[in-house]
Amino acid sequence: MSAVEAAPRIESRSNRGSATWMVVPALVLLIGFFALPYLTIITMSLREASTRAVYGEGFTLAHYTSALRDFYIWGILGRTLLIGATVTVISLLLGYPVAYHLAKSRSRWTSLLYIFVLSPLLVGLVVRTFAWMIILSNNGVANQALQAVGLIDFPLQLMNNSLGVTIALTHVFLPFIILPLLGNLQAISPDLAMASRSLGASRMRTFWKVTLPLSMPGIQAGTILVFVLSISAYVTPAMLGGTGGRTMSVLVVQYLVDNFRWPAGAALAIIMAAVAVIFVGLYLRLTARAMRRLP
């Protein structure tokens, strides 16, 4: 058996240097469309406020300090993150079974399910959100139905709060968790589940011990995508959130567009971005632990 004895240790590090130049276009793009705009916004956020000019002459940290001392801002920030986390968790719980089914199924109905899954992407965001307004408003479809069957006497407050935003965002972003999961699940050989069951593991045990750990990359990619999209969403919270469901991006737009407070609005935008980076970073570290054994 000497021929089999020499295990090939995977050596990929040595090949990386030669491919470095290939990232140059991406780098240029990143700097041009990502770094420079951010720099501009950061600079703006450090300007003094003024009502006699677009921004004041000097530089100040006042926009940051006053925002960070402001419980109202903290409240909005907290709500934004909570909505993002809730949407992410619900999307995962709803999306995983769908992705799992799509990955396993060979039925002719699968393509129909695909269309169903992707349908939120086929309709414009504003139209979709408007449809949710029609469903969720005080005299909307949902409330009328509930009143008609006598479950409630007075309309439930389904929109102009976090609930409506959460529901609509979940609908909008569900495909963004299903698609990465689907790709991931399809890449897992069905032999692995068969091997597990041949070893005596039930379907449940097979799922928890084999399928779920191996689908962590899909879960990670999908949840980050949905979380980031949710906390930065603007149209849906702007239309459905009202005052009770106002999020950071709505507030930032109000500062920038409605009130023309560019420096303060820029500071809020930077705070939001920083918080998002911190949360995603923490989440990456957490999930990396769960994935450290994967190839």
Binding site: T40, A49, R52, V235, M239, G242, L251, F260, R261
Partner: protein, 344 residues
């Protein structure tokens, strides 16, 4: 101020884009005139601009957007504004005016200003509120038993409790209402403490970002009464919706489109000619027909049928409460923050 949803959605993009590309001002060859989307853009393209060209020979370029876009572009343009003339709600125009972007009109070059109701011409000709859309109290005719006659009805008619729709503070409609309430209940349009206290009494109320959203709330029945502009309600009536609008006895508010001469613009003579044409009696009449504004020219004729639907015309223009916004600019941020915190 009228916004379509699309315009609303691109607002953020425009602002960010103008922040990130601050010196990308267009080298202009002729007059660029800003206007809003929808009915407005259609009117500008089909009637106003061809009319202007045949009357003056000026061939302007049209830039469709919203007032806040125009602000962003002028601010980002720095000393090379893309526009020579600005159009936007007076309270928004006041921001740019305070920042020093505008200069007074030479009224000698605007003969029609003499025929304009004087309340719409700012002191020293620093801006003319040329297009006026009055705001009254709109209500659902099928859901309201006692039609409103006074702004006080919002507080006093129990039918309206929890069923009122108001603009949110990002919309000019909200700051207009705030100053009206300050005037009605306090010691003048700057008595914001009183205004806040009184409006808080109306909670909970539906908040809308633009007139279309107010209309939606009314049609869905989420709100049965709301201050909103005639334009919106007339359009709803044209579609057969059970809504009506009244002019409360204390007077009405109005979205006043303020035209201003941009100091860094290159086409100042053309800008004057354009404004003069906007103020023309015939043009004002046509606008009234196209989107139910109230002519600002005292020689404009409104036929009886239209007058029955939009009563704030002619002598009744005096019922419009036009406020001074130049001093408000300094308080705007604080008031917006306060509204955010208290009206939730």
């Amino acid at each position: 101020m009228k916004l379509t949803r699309r315009e609303f959605a691109v607002g953020m993009t425009a602002a960010i884009a103008s922040m990130t590309l601050p010196r990308l001002a267009t080298a202009q060859s002729s007059l660029v005139v800003p206007t809003y989307g929808g009915l407005w853009a259609k009117f500008w393209e089909e009637q106003l601009l061809p009319g202007l060209t045949s009357a003056t020979g000026i061939q302007p370029q049209l830039d469709v957007g919203l007032g806040k876009d125009f602000v962003a572009k002028i601010r980002a343009g720095g000393d090379r504004s893309p526009y020579s003339i600005f159009m936007g709600n007076e309270n928004i125009a006041a921001v740019l005016r305070a920042e020093g972007f505008f200069e007074p009109f030479d009224l000698a070059k605007v003969p029609n200003a003499a025929k304009t109701y004087p309340q719409f011409i700012n002191k020293d000709a620093k801006g003319i509120r040329a297009i006026v859309s009055p705001i009254g109290l709109a209500y659902r005719t099928d859901l309201v038993k006692t039609a409103p006659t006074s702004w006080h009805d919002l507080w006093e008619n129990p039918e309206f409790k929890g069923k009122t729709g108001l603009y949110q503070i990002g919309n000019t409609g909200a700051v207009l209402f705030l100053r009206l309430v300050a005037e009605l209940f306090g010691n003048g349009p700057d008595d914001f403490d009183t205004a806040f206290a009184k409006i808080k009494e109306l909670l909970p109320f539906t908040q809308a970002s633009w007139s279309g959203e107010v209309a939606t709330a009314l049609i869905r029945g989420d709100a049965i009464i709301a201050p909103v502009d005639w334009t919106e309600i007339m359009t709803l009536q044209d579609k057969g919706a059970p809504v009506a609008i009244v002019a409360p006895k204390e007077g009405v508010l109005a979205f006043e489109q303020s035209f201003n001469l941009v100091g860094t613009g290159a086409e100042k003579d053309a800008a004057h000619a354009y404004l003069n044409y906007i103020l023309d009696a015939k043009v004002q009449q046509d606008m009234a027909k196209a989107f139910y504004t109230s002519p600002s020219n005292n020689e404009s004729v409104v036929d009886d049928a239209l007058k029955a639907r939009t009563p704030i015309v002619g002598p009744r223009m005096a019922e419009i409460k036009s406020y001074d916004w130049d001093s408000y600019v300094d308080k705007a941020a604080e008031i917006a923050d306060r509204w955010n915190r208290e009206m939730a």
